[in-house]
Amino acid sequence: MSQHARKQVNTVALAILFVTGSCLPKDTRPPPAEVLVQAASDDAVQTGLTSDDGWHIVFSRYLVTLGQASINGDTCNAYAEGDYTRVLDMQQPSPQKVNLLYGLGTCQFSFALIHPREDSVIGAGVTADEALMMRTAGSDVYTSWTDQLAGINTYVVGSATKGSQSKHFAWPFRQDFYMQLCTVVTDAGPEQDLQLRQRESLSVELQVHGERLFQLGPLRRLFEPFAGADTSYGNNDGDVTLEELSRVPATVSGNLGGVTFVDGGIVIEPGALMAQAQFSSPDAGIPDAGPALPGARSPVAAPETLGDFLVYWLLPASISYQGLGICSHSPRRPSQRGQ
């Protein structure tokens, strides 16, 4: 090649480099699977339920904030995870999108039940004022184990009637939860893994079970203890508040954490429901909630009140995975992932 020609080539190459060139490698990753995370609600949320002790319970509002879904594992490659949350009106037609993930390999699924943030997507049927209400910081007896203010991840409003008795409730749940080790029971046994293959589309469904908020034992949905919180431990104004529920004492009995309510309360038999609520434990590899403030009680300790049981056990257990599957849940400190 002549010197002149060589100069021309070099000039063109240089020009090409500056016009289109790049040394950054292209994205050579194989095409991933697409995982659509959705949320649905059970009939209880949509149309209400009748408890086993005769109360007819109807929900007038059922808002839940879900998101920050992720896939992980030693043989899992997460291409894109859920970096946002969505405020959902669970009484809207189901299912509703929560997040969209991309990944490959054998993955375990996790997500968060957490208060909304400024950039949370507001789902259908949710007003901006409601989202703002759930973002407004506050505290209650259940989040006092840290010194952090908390928002509202679940807002449940409803009423219960039995004969001439009528109670109303409006519960802002502020304790956030990190839900992981989501497991579904198959014919072959418990299965935690999602198999993500190239170009496949999968869906993961989270189901919100409103009836589980009152499941004080296997197949035992009871509202009487809740009513008693207002009648016997509260101001008997017809509103059952979370604060009143925190006054209803309970003791733990049984290896599986059955709850016995004294002083006219009710005995909760140990059963599958309690087994589903697995608490943070180093052995289980679940993130530890961390120490509580001096003098405050750790939320992972056994429940001492009906309110404890509702907030720390029943609420997170009310969200199932892929039908009847369960996720291990741990109370979330503000310093944990995604904060």
């Binding site: 240089l14 480099l17 500056f18 016009v19 060139g21 790049s22 040394c23 950054l24 490698p25 994205d27 050579t28 990753r29 194989p30 991933p32 043989t75 899992c76 490659n77 291409y79 894109a80 859920g82 970096d83 946002y84 999108k97 997040n99 969209l100 993930l101 991309y102 490959l104 390999g105 208060h115 909304p116 943030r117 400024e118 950039d119 949370s120 997507v121 703002l132 973002r135 407004t136 910081a137 952090q148 203010l149 908390a150 928002g151 503000p334 904060q339």
Partner: protein, 736 residues
């Protein structure tokens, strides 16, 4: 503009008029060659002397002697002019003392046989002198340093512990600079956030200065002669940044073969330059390559970290009045993760520049530079779109004396940026962060046009005034906003050793991102231009022992500023980072700076910088301290020649803590209250040790051990413990 090819008939270099006396230092050993950078005034006196190359104890000996030298001044067309000349002093180790019949002449003897060639050799009295010739450039004094600027030469920065020989790393030690986190290459300058600080190399905009992973600067140190920090009130030729300006001056072209290289723990680098066609041209090649990826694979196999940079320059004198230069440089950074055989790029960034310039000397100290620059930037962030910027810029700068004591400087430029983006292949389209990112950096073409001019007025022997004006027009996606920026600087020489310096200016800038990242420039002029009014006043004092001290008070006012990092407090609850990126705040910064400086390259050198300041922000009618306000920032460095070619240095960095800002975690706080709590103060100690071996006059090899944060200090930021960020470096350098 630093150097133009001298016309032998128009410019006569200064010549020694009195034979200089230079004593071979008693602690010296072997031969040595010292190159001094002398400013010879029009009356022939040495007004300033700096060591450009060379080591102790010879450097101090040459420097001390040079101050008393007398020259026949340089002339241009027969008129005496000030000149900057590189002047070589060669020390030759004396031979063993001879018997009585030997009576050599011990006087040093300059060689003035070749214009522009100045050399002195000196020996102990028992030795005979031999002249050493070496072609050295002569620079007729052109661009004087503006008032109100802090500078470090490369020779000094080499000795600065914690800087790893990088001139740009010395910025963090300069007065007015507030670190974000120790070791991180982003900082506030007199209250201006990192995204408002502009970086230039020889007038070419550089998108960022440092490689990832606390890596070195993207420009090989041997390429950089000096780094200037303009914290405010900068000359009219700088614009489009509302904070400070960091300007690096490339080393002037040389036609003698020379170079240097180094191998360190994490990277290796080299630079070489030589002349061709009998000195009419020069070519320089340099670069750096990191092998961190290989090293990391031994301890963290899943992480990839790589960086490299290159520099190339060719100059050619078409005529004695015309020089063309092609200057190209670029950098590449990559952070990736490998898992289960799949490589994911977490962060990748690259930029390239090609600057073609023509310098013409009209004579009578009138020069014109015309330049074209093309550039390409790209940044890739996982889960986000890739951003690219293709840039084309044309600029011209004129320098012309219009009367005695009146120097006009003027210029114009146009820059066009073509921003493009590739959508992220695998991302949730509903993700608010993805949506915001795409909206913040849309595909579009931006343009900026500017004209500027200032006049250096030597109003009297003591007073120099520089009024200036800059006018810019910014265009982005159909939006167009003009900006007018008056500037004025003044230097008043009260006495030979005392000067008063003032600098005032207005500056504007388009919307900026948190930190400078290639290709990531907010588009559409959303929210309008950022503005600042910068004022400073100070005194500069020459103290004994070649020490200077500068004390300055300053005040900066910011309007409509982007400061996602700093405009946060407990009262801005509910404002997520996404909103903070586009939020506009007012700001203010005021304070006092002290800079006491003795050249680090001397036998005993050091400096002390101290900044006492307050930076505030006002957002939504709430006024609060900037989230990175630090009341006290101090740097103290000491470098000492231990003898036998050993040098040691230490630097102490200290700063008080920032306001405690409790993360709101996206919550809305009904009644937020401003907290007076501050994070703990931080200090760290950097160490440097060097042993050098010399072979002949110009060849040397050095072993260098250096540690940034040898104290393993940790930093507390809003209840989060950071670090210790400690960077050790062991390496070998060599030069010829």
């Amino acid at each position: 503009m630093n150097t133009i090819a001298p016309n032998a008939s128009a410019i006569v270099p200064p010549r020694l008029s009195i034979q200089p006396e230079v004593t071979y230092p008693t602690q010296g050993k072997g031969d040595a060659s010292i190159v001094l950078r002398l400013t010879v005034s029009a009356d022939g006196a040495v007004r300033d002397a700096q060591v450009a190359e060379g080591d102790e104890p010879f450097a101090s000996a040459a420097l001390e002697a040079a101050k008393s030298w007398k020259f026949e001044p340089a002339t241009r067309d027969g008129r005496p002019v000030a000149a900057i000349v590189r002047f070589q002093v060669s020390f030759v180790e004396p031979e063993p003392e001879l018997p009585a019949q030997t009576a050599p002449d011990a006087s040093p003897r300059p060689d003035n046989t070749n214009p522009g060639l100045v050399a002195v050799t000196t020996r102990k009295p028992t030795a005979s002198a031999t002249a050493v010739e070496r072609e050295i450039d002569v620079t007729v004094e052109g661009e004087r340093l503006a008032p109100a600027v802090s500078s470090f030469t490369r020779a000094e920065v080499r000795q600065l512990p914690g800087a790893f020989g990088d001139p740009f790393r010395a910025i963090e030690a300069m007065p007015g600079v507030t670190p974000i986190v120790s070791g991180l290459p982003f900082f506030y300058v007199r209250g201006a956030p990192p995204g408002n600080v502009g970086y230039f190399l020889d007038g070419v905009r550089v998108p960022y200065l440092y490689h990832v992973g606390l890596g070195p600067s993207v420009i090989h140190p041997a390429m950089v002669d000096r780094v200037d920090l303009y914290p405010g009130g900068y000359p009219a030729r700088f614009g489009r940044y509302a904070g400070g300006i960091v300007s690096g001056e490339a080393a002037a072209p040389r036609t003698d073969l020379h170079g240097e290289g180094n191998i360190r723990l994490f990277d290796l680098g080299a630079m070489a330059e030589t002349g061709f066609l009998k000195g009419r041209g020069s070519v320089l090649l340099g670069g750096r390559y990191s092998y961190t990826a290989t090293l990391l694979s031994l301890i963290a196999p899943s992480v990839d970290l790589a960086y490299r940079d290159y520099q190339a320059r060719v100059t050619y004198d078409l005529t004695p009045h015309d020089r063309i230069t092609a200057f190209s440089f670029g950098a590449y950074d990559l952070v990736g993760q490998r898992s289960n055989g799949i490589e994911t790029i977490l962060f990748g960034s690259e930029f390239y520049r090609l600057d073609l310039r023509h310098d013409h000397d009209f004579g009578n100290r009138t020069t014109l530079r015309t330049a074209v620059t093309v550039g390409y930037d790209q940044t890739r962030i996982t889960d986000r779109q890739n951003a690219q910027d293709r840039m084309l810029s044309v600029r011209t700068a004129l320098r012309k004396p219009i009367a005695i004591g009146l120097l006009l400087r003027a210029g114009a430029d146009v820059i066009v940026d073509g921003f493009t983006a590739d959508k992220a292949r695998y991302a949730d389209p509903e993700s608010p962060r993805t949506i915001q990112f795409n909206n913040l950096f849309p595909v579009r073409n931006d343009a900026a046009m500017g004209i500027w001019a200032d006049v250096v007025i030597q109003a009297s022997r003591s007073l120099e005034l520089t009024p200036g004006l800059r006018v810019d027009n910014f265009i982005s996606n159909g939006s167009s906003i003009p900006a007018i920026e008056p500037r004025v600087a003044a230097k008043y020489r009260v006495s030979e050793h005392l000067r008063i310096i003032h600098a005032y200016g207005v500056a504007h800038q388009p919307p900026s991102f948190v930190v400078p990242i290639p290709g990531l420039t907010p588009g559409d002029l959303q929210g309008g231009l950022q503005s600042s009014v910068q004022t400073s006043a100070g005194v500069e004092i020459d103290l004994p022992a070649a020490t200077t001290a500068t004390a300055t008070v300053f005040h900066n006012a910011f309007y409509n500023m982007n400061d996602a990092l700093g405009a946060r407090s407990n009262t801005t609850s509910g404002t997520g980072f996404g909103t903070a990126l586009t939020a506009r705040a007012r700001g203010e910064a005021y304070g006092f700076e002290l800079f006491i400086h003795r050249q680090l390259s001397g036998r005993l050198g050091g400096f002390l910088t101290y900044t006492l300041s307050r930076a505030t922000r006002t957002l939504n009618d709430s006024r609060f301290p900037s989230a990175f306000d630090r009341t006290h920032v101090a740097n103290a460095a000491l470098a000492y020649d231990l003898g036998r070619n050993w040098r040691a240095g230490t630097r102490l960095v200290f700063y008080t803590g920032t306001p405690v800002v409790t993360p709101t975690r996206g919550l809305v706080i009904a009644q937020p209250s401003l907290s007076n709590d501050r994070n703990p103060a931080f200090y760290r100690v950097d160490l440097r040790l060097e042993k050098r071996w010399k072979y002949g006059e110009r060849t040397w090899v050095a072993f260098i051990a250096e540690v940034m944060n040898a104290t393993l200090s940790k930093e507390i930021y809003n209840s989060t413990t950071i670090g210790p960020i400690t960077i050790p470096s062991i390496g070998v350098e060599a030069g010829f």
